[in-house]
Amino acid sequence: MSPPHRRERGLVRPYVVTDGRAHPTRNTLDLVTLVTAASGRPLSGLSPEKRRVMELCRGGALSVAEVAGHLALAISVTKVLLSDLIDSGHISTRPPIPRAQLPDDQLLQEVLDGLRSRL
């Protein structure tokens, strides 16, 4: 298997991409939060990095970690960008199953069933 394609080093330092901010506007984003592009939002005015995020996320849902991996961005930078895009209505997160509907033991059983079905 060939090594994943990625940019070795960006043209600008990470904080330039995030307008100098190290922290996202919201801290609800987890590595496996699923995000997707909202339809019909204009991309005008977005930074090149945010456009790249939008182009990627238009195809369907991805986790925060996958967005970072595909765009060769650090997780911390990706979270800042995604948070901004969520604030501006460009990105939506897929609503998770409410905790009450899927308690831990049931979740683990689903994981187990899924793994066993692969054997």
Binding site: P4, D105, V111, G114
Partner: protein
């Protein structure tokens, strides 16, 4: 421009529309123990990698004695994805143990179901740091000996003793290159997690 993902992928790039929950399991262990292989064997997408560079402040106090040719500290993480049912996906995050707690580690541990510690019988002592870190953060784990072809076979009891495992901690042997064997290792971990939650409910 986004390099069109999908052209050279193992499977589908995007998560299925029906998926409503994503869970994560950590695949951890020392350098060259087979984490990337393990993730790659099971992942339905081409495994991805992200890197986080230390902030300047932490670089100043970072101990680089062990790697004199290294000028910056980078924490890399490989990860892959498995769709388990129409509404559930599992992400596997592979990362090396870090002596110092990093943001990336915090991100990985947060909400993870548990961890699978990969070990090599030739270098069992190198697994101590990572096991300590998981215990410190209350992250339940199972140990899977990745059986390398040229590694000696030891009785399970000896490995348990060398790793100082609690009696309930699962110890399995796996071949990270083999999908069925790697899946079995994850199953052992999740079965163990189940016994823990059912005990908590009592």
């Amino acid at each position: 421009m986004v390099s069109a993902p999908g052209s050279d992928q193992v499977g589908q790039v995007y998560v299925s529309d029906t998926v409503r929950a994503a869970v994560k399991i950590l695949i951890v262990g020392h350098f060259a123990v087979g984490k990337t292989t393990f993730v790659g064997t099971l992942s339905e997408i081409r495994p991805l990698r992200t890197e986080e560079t230390m902030t300047q402040a932490s670089e100043l106090i970072d101990d680089l004695a062990g790697s004199p040719d290294k000028t910056t500290t980078t924490v890399a993480m490989d990860f892959g994805r498995l769709t388990l049912s129409e509404r559930l996906v599992l992400y596997l995050f592979g990362a090396p143990g870090q002596k110092r707690f990093t943001t990336l580690w915090k991100d990985m541990l947060n909400g993870a179901l548990g961890a699978l510690v990969l070990a090599d019988t030739r270098r069992l002592d190198e697994s101590f740091d990572i096991m300590g870190l998981l215990e410190e953060h209350g992250m339940p784990y199972a140990v899977a000996v990745n059986q390398f072809d040229d590694a000696p076979l030891f009785p399970v009891a000896e490995i348990r003793e060398a790793l100082d495992l609690l009696p309930e901690t699962p110890l399995i042997t796996c071949d990270a290159r083999d999908a069925a064997s790697s899946t079995e290792a994850l199953i052992s971990l999740v079965e163990y997690l189940q016994t823990r939650t059912s005990q908590e409910h009592r």
